[in-house]
Symmetry: C2
Subunit: 342 residues, 2 copies
């Protein structure tokens, strides 16, 4: 029998391959596989469902991830997907498989983080499953949200001329992870060494260990009467996400390096690591900010809103996906999602 | 720091412990943790959400589980939870974490099973997540269904005098598993031996490897104008499930051994294994039949329906949970869910 390694397809290619034969038959299925979340009919509002799985040793490392932070982040990554549909998260289910090295006290810490996220976002824990594993901890969270049908924002609505916008700032979570990995290595080399994270650490570690979901932006869009033409959350880095929008919308994009928001701490930490800050923003993941496009008629509505940055323009598909650097050069942007199978 | 082993609480005790501090705040949350599925508002109908996690080496063994059957069964166990709420399943999400020993061809087999279940039950695959694991395969499926509010059936509505009913037959899946485990042992002892499953194997292996969800019963209840007073699916064995209903409803129960449906093949296979058939029905899991209670006024509606068996009566809580044997004796029934942490 033929044996094709899953690496050959990549994560997104694999998903496309495995789900290719499926078709939707239920009249209540509004949107199936291929966006940040599925959409199903739900009365006055539509219901948005998203699910993510987190695996010890792949997505998190207990050397530097406190259990409470892990619980919090497990919820946030799913709420972020709901926000990316321009919907408000309302319920979650949490399933875990764990080996017997975890005590009840350890689980209490993890669930304290889940509860902190539920409290912070007003979300209800409504179900889940608890079972054992032979090794490590595996977490599967499903988030459910809702929004009026006319506000739901897919990846597929971007048009040439639309402005590309980014919330918050990028690259910080990636640089926080680099700091944690560096200090882990120092510790492994010499367990008597005290960690020295450096002066930019507080904000960068918070970005990595305690990210937030931009439900505030969903509220802002509603208040300002804006419906983005497309939206995605930035979990795998700006480069990967703009490619998803361009592919789903059948368009190209020009990102202005000068418009990509990067915090001072991230800029300075990147330089300390001899990394280019824009590379951290393009390829570093886990910021959980929103990348969205708006019709030019909404420019004045968006221009003075806090924490939203105009970072480029949608162009025709044949113009490709490009970065316009501060130095005036044009580079192709390469899609660089995390390949967990690599 | 204190360290309490998770075994000390048991699976259900652990879930109760971990979710104790959570409260529901969203007006759209109709029913949270503690039933077969959560219920959320959804317009004309309510939406029912259930999720299950399956772990290699805990819930399935690739020595005798074909990948296609595993895919099928992963869906069925979740559809069964939706049926247990008296709702119709309509959508699923499927998340998997897998080690690099799985090829694309192996995943194709697994997804062929997922698709066969979607085709059989008219359910849409609308989302999921695909990631890697350090070891083995972990599957997390979420099923979404819906039903009119007045038809949704919880575990908590049983009253003294209600009849206890069971669909299909019990014990077969457990005996199928025993056959597979026996032949695995024979094979491990001598790989040249050909498996000899015996004459009762076809029906019992089908029960174990290719269970079905009783969506037909949800349709039957609607057609006959019956709403059970309580319902649960039989995934962990009759004893465990009747305890869940009694605990949630604040009642006791008397099960009539003579009323518990057990197939001829299961009866004969049990005797060959020197097992008591009623023990297999009480403690064997994975039949995915429905256990439900009805108001005595519905007795005539239920009595002549195919594949539904009256197997006892709900009594006052202080009368406990008992088995009335064919020999006329009364025994306490002990709750015996699978303790995966044991």
């Amino acid at each position: 029998m033929e044996r094709t390694d899953v690496n050959t397809l990549g994560e997104f290619g694999l998903i496309d391959h495995l789900t290719a034969g499926f078709e939707n038959r239920q009249s209540t299925t509004v949107l199936g596989v291929g966006d940040d979340a599925a959409v199903i009919a739900g009365g006055d509002e539509q219901i948005v469902v998203s699910t993510d799985m987190l695996v010890e040793g792949i997505h998190f490392d207990f050397t530097y991830t406190p259990l409470k932070h892990l619980g919090y982040k497990s919820v946030i990554v799913n709420l972020s997907d709901i926000c990316a549909m321009n919907a408000r998260p309302q319920q979650i289910t949490v399933s875990i498989a764990l080996s017997n090295r975890f005590s009840v006290e350890a689980l209490d810490e993890f669930y304290a983080g889940i509860k902190a996220a539920c409290d912070q976002y007003g979300v209800d824990l409504v179900g889940g499953d608890t079972t054992s594993s032979n090794r490590g901890l595996i977490i599967s969270v499903t988030a459910i949200g809702r929004a009026p049908a006319a506000r739901i924002t897919r990846r597929s609505g971007a048009k040439p001329g639309d402005l590309i916008c980014i919330t918050g700032s990028l690259g910080g979570a990636y640089l926080g992870l680099q700091l944690l990995e560096r200090e882990k290595q120092v510790y492994l080399d010499n367990p008597d060494m005290q960690p020295d994270m450096g002066e930019y650490a507080p904000s960068l570690l918070a970005r990595q260990l305690r990210p937030e979901a931009r439900t505030d932006m969903v509220d802002t869009f509603a208040k300002e009467g804006i419906v983005p033409t497309s939206m995605i959350d930035i979990s795998d880095g700006l480069a990967s996400e703009i490619f998803h929008i361009c592919k789903a919308s059948g368009v190209g994009a020009v990102i202005e390096e000068s418009g990509v928001p990067i915090s001072n701490d991230a800029q300075l930490q990147a330089l300390e690591f001899n990394l280019d800050p824009i590379t951290c923003a393009l390829s570093g993941g886990e910021d959980y900010e929103l990348l969205f496009t708006i019709d030019p008629k909404d420019t004045e509505k968006i221009r003075f809103l806090p924490d939203i940055y105009i970072a480029g323009e949608i162009v025709a598909r044949e113009d490709g996906v490009k970065l316009h650097t501060k130095g005036g050069n044009i580079h192709d942007i390469k899609a660089q999602g995390w390949n967990h199978f690599g």
